[in-house]
Structures are given as structure tokens and as C-alpha cells.
Amino acid sequence: MSELSHLDELEAEAIYIIREVAAECEKPVMLYSIGKDSSVMLHLAMKAFYPEKPPFPFLHVNTTWKFKEMIAFRDQTAKELGINMIEYINKEGAARGVNPFDYGSSYTDIMKTQALKQALKKYGFTAAFGGGRRDEEKSRAKERIFSFRNEAQAWDPKNQRPEMWKLYNTEINQGESMRVFPISNWTETDIWEYIKRENIPIVSLYFAKERPVVHRGNNLIMVDDDRMRLNPGEVPEMKKVRFRTLGCYPLTGAIESEADTLDKIIAETLSSVESERTSRVIDNDGGEASMEKRKREGYF
């Protein structure tokens, strides 16, 4: 029996890409956001180099507004696997008290996009792996697996390098860099089925549980700590909810769900009528092309 399954093919493609970067790029780093896609990426990196550890560090850009549970999970994972985990916080932004309540979309720019750019520059990384998938969003559907960034770390969608077969062009000049997306061709369902098949640990926020939430706009926002600013009339209530994506807790919408096992999550994903990004408040901000604009500015 030699026919590979769909997941086998996706896994082999991702491992090939990760190894290419390690072999050809001068100073790679893997972005680690603690989410399910990052958990899959980390798992693939461990497999790609076994019995060696991944020959590059992992970078978590911390906005300081992540769910508490995410940070605990990150630290434990790094310790268990013996990998080098770098945390980067935009100290200047944090000192100025930039927060998701008062700063709107400039919060994302300062604490995520600018922080990421600062971190990549500080360590001189020439290639950064991201867990972006083409099924997530329209401008991502157009992006190459090896995505060239100029000195300002900006993406030029109208002039992408042609990418043929699996012959990746990794050539760059001083100051330029690559963003690399090994799981470009995975869908949300593929991610969940792979997590199940490989038994990959993920943050428990993905599983439905009674959690304190408030209704805000069309979203259910979890009250993760006492920094959460409640609007007049908002009273946290306990609801059985889970998260389809994870980010900063005041900006991440929960969904009401009974899915407390992987099988139930997979069933729910397959029957879902809304794409996962609807629960990200950030993507709806700025209209149809907001992701493309941010990517041009250096966001992942």
C-alpha cells in the first residue's frame, strides 16, 4: 500500500518546505502564536528534523493581552520540547498603555505589526515561518508559499516572484526577508483532523466549557482578567463556549458550543456556516481588504 492520504501529502509538503528553509535561509525563525495552527507547525518542525531539534528559535509576539491560559501553555510547551522560545513585547507601546479598548485598529498595528517588525529586525531574522493558510482570507489565497518582503518588510502583491513546482527562490539582499507559509494548502478541517491523528496538544480554550462572557456587538467576549473594561449594562454571564481562533482576549469572539472533544469540534467545523475569521474582531475592522492592507504594511 503506497498511496498517501490527503493528510500525508499535506504533511510531506510542509516538512519539505520547513527543511528547505533550514537548508537555504541564513537565519530563520518560526512564529509561534500559541494557536492551533502554530501547534501544528511546531509539531511539523519537530518531525522535520528528528532526531535533531529544530535548528531555529521560535518567536512569540506578545501583545500582553493574550488569554492567561495561552501564556501558561506556551511556557510549558517550550519546556517540555526543549526548544528556544523568544518572547517579544513592544515595550514602548506597553509603556504608553496601548490597549485594545482605547486604541482601536492602531492597537493591532502597534502591538502586533510594529512589534513583529521590531522583533525580526532586532534579531536579524532573514526568514520567518508563519502559519497562514490560503483558505482563511482572500488576500492570503493569493500569496506565495515563499513570500518576499522588501527592506520595509512590506508585501507587494502585484509583483510576486513566480513559484514553480517546489523550487523555491530564497535569494535575498541585505535587509530583505522571506515569510514562509508551510501550511498554505491546509484547510481548517485538515488542521483539526491532523491534530486528532497526531494527538497534538492544544490550548483548552478550543474546547467548550463554562466561561464568563459578555455580549458585545455580534460577539461573545470572555472576561479573562480584571483589566477587561465593561461597558455600562454589561454583566458577565457563564456560558458554555469555545474559540475557533485565539488571539487577544478582548478582540476574540467565542462561540456557544457543546463541542468538548476533538470529534465534536471536527463535526462542528464541517457543518459550520460561518468561516473562522468572523470571530476575529480585527478582520472586520477596515472593510473587505483590511488583511491585504495590513500585509502590505508588514503584518503576517
Binding site: 501529502e9 527543511r19 528528528y50 493569493k142 513566480p162 523555491y168 535575498i172 456556516v273
Partner: protein, 560 residues
């Protein structure tokens, strides 16, 4: 049958590619509710007066939506009850042909749209040709906009006739033709009520059922090495993807290009020990002995895999800058990254007629057949025999643009004719070839004259555009360990370098450069220096022992 089908849609501008895919996703209830909502909203503000504009689902870049065209390839993922699909929707404009080719390199099947009101266009032919070039074996021609020709069977049949001619010209094997209307939805997912005369399958039906698996029996194993895994002193593994065949624990393998044999001592598929691994799997192989293998080398069961410096390839030129003969590019082939020079262009292929047209250069979106030379021997094979070892890209060394992609048509023999030969004593080189210098591009090139081998007694050339040799001189080749005496303008003697004694005549090397020796002692020192030399750092040695300007110069030229 594999569950996943990767296909592309292509065709000329406004043939309705994006609309077709959009309609397929919409009909198959494969859209999320929020995407549908966004689609309806976009259509309202769009140009089509309230009707759903399905193409808005795929044209995701701001510039695309502004201009109403597809610029770059978009990937969509959908699953029906029967199969998972990845579809690459590609641009129709000639300007963006290279982005179309990106999609083609990824796909197993091509859906080529033909506008029923227009028939086969130049772009249809171009795209079909590029799909065939990039290795696609399955073609569906969707004759679109049938609603605009009153669903005429006669019109359809006349287009089918043209498609058959095209398929024959390009040597396409598996060809299917379906009449559709992408805006109305005829024969996309539902059988058309308007074309009862068509009894074949709908497009989705066909895509769900087509078997594109290649017959892979009896293929030899090979693996281009991606990297060497050395976590400690005891483990040394070669990591890469199995590109063909099966590899087993205990199997004898050959390393290329070093041609050593070794046995598989351990085999990891990902992070798990395995007895065997198949094509497509990511593995790490440990061998039972030390071998000279690094990234770019190949492990194989096939001792006959070619190793060569010269190939003939068909290139799709993709750069705004034109192709320059004689210029050095960076080639990627398998896992090898190596400088390559385009030695000559044999002809370009007219995308419309297939005619072979003589040319000296190639511009963007042109197909050319040319000869490439690498700086060293690499493992390379014909694309039709071993796909991965026959695919390549060329990268501009200054702009870093991916300038071309191509497929290997032929691996050329390494055995260049020697310049001097006497039995087993042979000397290569380019003593009598012309050197040209273009002061505008600052490129130096060697223009091989008719390659002639000179034997004892043969007269040799004394004057060319770029050389002027005396009647008597000695040629020393450190590479061939051979010396040649030229006396009175003819080859007088060919002897092993070890037997050479300094004669007092001018001394040249096999390239026509002067060797700076004037005594037997100096000859001995020269010989020792070359024997001790690090092969990768010859520049300082050459600077010490060789001079350029005595008998050789570079003639000016305007070409390349």
C-alpha cells in the same frame, strides 16, 4: 484513487474562469454564510447591476477588484461528498502568463475555458501549451457562454473540431470537452435543460470521478538530499523526500554524483522508524558507511541516473529583462542550487502555430529551447522520465527575480571533444576558441569555434580574433596531467606532465594563458603547487602562475 484533485482553470481574458469556479462553489453549498453575504454586498456595489458576480469570490486583491481582472493565481479549497479539491484560478491576460504558469506547475488537471462566441484564441493555445509543458496530462475544455450562442450544438461541434486539432498538435492525451454557461449554471453542477443534445457528464461530475493517478510501477527509487541531519557524533542522516519508487531498510543504494555504494542502516519517516518508505514521503536515511553526500546530491537505486554539466531545456522566460546568452544565472534543480550559463538558444516556439523560429534572445512570456551549462556535474534527467530531476528555475543573480522556469528535454553528453589527443593522453580546454568582451554589459564570453581535435602532425591555428600564438610553444595542462609540444605550427609530441622537461620555449596552459615559468625548478614548483591546491580556491594560485595578455586578448563584441 487519491481523494485530492489539484486543478487549474485557465483561458483568455473574460472567458469566465473566476465566474465558473465561483458558481461551482456557490451551487455546491461550499461557501460559508459570511462569504455569501460579502459576495451579495460586493455584487450590489459592483458593475453587474445586482446580479451575483461570482468572480468577486476569487479576485481577492484590491487592484484586481478595482480593475475587474485577475492578476495573480488564487487558490480555493473545497470538498464534496466524493472528493477534496484544490483549484488554482489563473489570470487570462498575456501580461500575467507567468502567474498562470505558477498555477499550472501545481496542477494535475487543467480546465481550459473557451468562449463559445469567439472560439479558440491565441491565449487558449498559449495556456494549453504551457499546461502541457509543465507536465499536466489531463485536460477539460469547457466551452463557455453557450447561452450567448443560443445553446447551438452546431457551434459547439465546430469548436470541438478545433480543440481536437489543437490537442493533436500538442500531443494531449486525455481530453474532455463540455458545453457550459458559467453565469447561468448549465452543465456546471446541474445538467443543462437547454442542451439536451449533450449527453456527457457535467463539469463537477467529471472532476469528481476522473482518475489522474499515474502508473508508477517499476520505478526506481531516488531522493534528492535536502539537508544532512547531524544532532550528535553518532547520527548522520540524509533528509529529503522520496521522489519515486520505494526505499527499504537494508537496501543497497548509490550516491550521486560521488558514485559510492552503501546500505540503508536506518530509515525514519518523519520521526518514526520504518521498514520502507514510498514516493511522496519525507524521510531521513542513515547509511552504513561514510559517503561524500551533501545537499543537492541524490541517493538512488538507479545506477543509470545521468550526471552531467550540459542539458537542453525548454524555458518559459518570465522576466522583464530579456534572456542573455552567455550570462550566468543561478539554477535550482531538485535540491541543487548551482550557477548556470545559457550557452545558446536553438529556437523559440510560436505559441500559436508551434513553429520553431530562430532567435538570439527571449523576452517575457516566450518559450525557447536552449542549451544550459552548469559549473559542475549534477544529477539531472529528462522531465518526462524523472519529473523532479527535470524541472528547473533560473534566478537572476542581481535582481533575484525568478527569470525562467523550464523542463529538461535532453541530457547532453559530458564527453567534450579534447583539443589534443594521442591515445589515452587527452587535453581539453579552449586554446583556439575566441574570447569576446562586451564593454556595455561587462560580460566576457567564450565562443567555441568548430571543435577540432588535433593529433600528432596536425597543424594548429595561430591567429584568431582573440589569440596570436608563436610557431613553437609548450602546452601544460595540470587538469589533464599532460604536456603538448607545438613545433613549426603543428603538434609534435604529447606526453605525461610528469615526463615534461622545461625546453626554453614559451609555456602556455590549455586555455592559451601564459604559464610563468622559465626554468625546470620553476616547473617543479608549479607542479607541486597545483598538486597541493585546494580545488575550491584556485584564484590565488592562478594569480601567481598565469598571465592573460601575452598571446591572448578579448576581442570586443556588440552581442550578448
Amino acid at each position: 484513487m487519491s481523494g485530492l484533485l489539484k486543478f487549474i482553470t485557465c483561458g483568455s481574458v473574460d472567458d469566465g474562469k473566476s465566474t465558473l469556479i465561483g458558481h461551482m462553489l456557490y451551487d455546491s453549498k461550499l461557501l460559508y454564510a459570511d462569504q455569501k453575504k460579502a459576495l451579495l454586498l460586493d455584487s450590489k456595489v459592483g458593475s453587474r447591476g445586482g446580479d451575483i458576480d461570482y468572480s468577486l469570490l476569487l479576485d481577492g486583491l484590491m487592484a484586481e477588484r478595482e480593475q475587474g481582472i485577475t492578476i495573480d493565481v488564487a487558490y480555493r479549497y473545497f470538498t464534496t461528498d466524493r472528493r477534496s479539491f484544490i483549484v488554482a484560478d489563473t489570470p487570462g491576460h498575456e501580461e500575467y502568463t507567468r502567474n498562470m504558469a505558477v498555477g499550472a506547475s501545481f496542477a494535475q488537471l487543467a480546465v481550459i475555458l473557451v468562449d463559445a462566441t469567439q472560439g479558440i484564441l491565441v491565449q487558449t493555445r498559449r495556456h494549453s501549451r504551457i499546461c502541457a509543458l509543465m507536465g499536466i496530462h489531463y485536460f477539460v475544455f469547457a466551452v463557455n457562454k453557450m447561452d450567448l450562442v443560443q445553446y447551438s450544438e452546431k457551434r459547439f461541434q465546430s469548436i470541438v473540431c478545433d480543440i481536437q486539432k489543437l490537442a493533436k498538435q500538442l500531443g494531449l492525451k486525455n481530453v474532455m470537452v463540455i458545453p457550459v454557461s458559467a453565469t447561468e449554471g448549465d452543465n456546471i453542477t446541474r445538467r443543462s435543460e437547454n442542451m439536451k443534445w449533450y449527453t456527457g457528464s457535467t463539469l463537477l461530475d467529471y472532476l469528481e470521478n476522473v482518475d489522474v493517478s499515474e502508473n508508477n510501477e517499476n520505478t526506481e527509487f531516488y531522493l534528492p538530499v535536502q539537508r544532512v541531519c547531524r544532532p550528535n557524533h553518532t547520527f548522520r542522516g540524509f533528509a529529503g523526500q522520496v521522489e519515486s519508487g520505494v526505499v527499504k531498510f537494508g537496501q543497497r543504494l548509490v550516491t550521486l554524483p560521488s558514485r559510492e555504494t552503501a546500505t540503508v542502516q536506518s530509515l525514519l519517516v518523519g520521526d518514526k522508524q520504518a521498514d520502507r518508505a514510498y514516493a511522496g514521503q519525507a524521510v531521513t536515511i542513515q547509511l552504513d558507511r561514510e559517503v561524500d553526500v551533501s545537499r543537492g546530491c541524490v541517493l538512488t537505486s538507479d545506477v543509470h541516473l545521468p550526471v552531467s554539466r550540459r542539458i537542453t531545456a525548454t524555458l518559459l522566460w518570465m522576466d522583464d529583462e530579456t534572456l542573455t546568452v552567455g550570462r550566468e544565472y543561478l539554477a535550482k534543480l531538485g535540491t541543487k542550487r548551482i550557477p548556470a550559463v545559457v550557452k545558446n538558444i536553438q529556437y523559440k516556439i510560436d505559441v500559436n502555430s508551434g513553429e520553431q523560429i530562430p532567435t538570439q534572445t527571449a523576452s517575457k512570456n516566450e518559450l525557447v529551447v536552449c542549451e544550459l551549462e552548469f559549473t559542475e556535474k549534477i544529477v539531472v534527467d529528462e522531465f518526462r522520465r524523472n519529473k523532479t530531476l527535470g524541472e528547473l528555475i533560473l534566478i537572476d543573480r542581481v535582481s533575484h527575480m525568478t527569470s525562467a522556469c523550464g523542463v529538461v528535454e535532453h541530457v547532453n553528453s559530458n564527453t567534450e571533444k579534447p583539443v589534443f589527443a594521442d591515445g589515452s593522453l587527452q587535453v581539453g580546454g579552449y586554446l583556439y576558441d575566441e574570447l569576446y568582451f562586451n564593454p556595455e554589459t561587462v560580460l566576457l564570453s567564450c565562443n567555441p569555434s568548430q571543435k577540432v581535435t588535433y593529433h600528432i602532425g596536425d597543424r594548429v591555428p595561430d591567429n584568431g580574433d582573440s589569440f596570436h600564438y608563436p610557431a613553437n610553444y609548450d602546452v601544460l595542462s595540470a587538469a589533464a596531467q599532460t604536456a603538448v609540444f607545438i613545433r613549426n605550427g603543428a603538434v609534435a609530441r604529447i606526453l605525461p606532465l610528469a615526463d615534461y622537461l622545461y625546453t626554453g620555449q614559451p609555456v602556455l596552459d590549455e586555455r592559451g594563458l601564459t604559464v610563468n615559468i622559465a626554468s625546470q625548478e620553476e616547473f617543479k614548483r608549479f607542479l607541486t603547487a597545483y598538486q597541493m591546491a585546494n580545488k575550491k580556491k584556485l584564484a590565488s594560485l592562478r594569480n601567481q602562475w598565469l598571465s592573460f595578455g601575452n598571446f591572448r586578448r578579448a576581442a570586443f563584441t556588440d552581442t550578448f
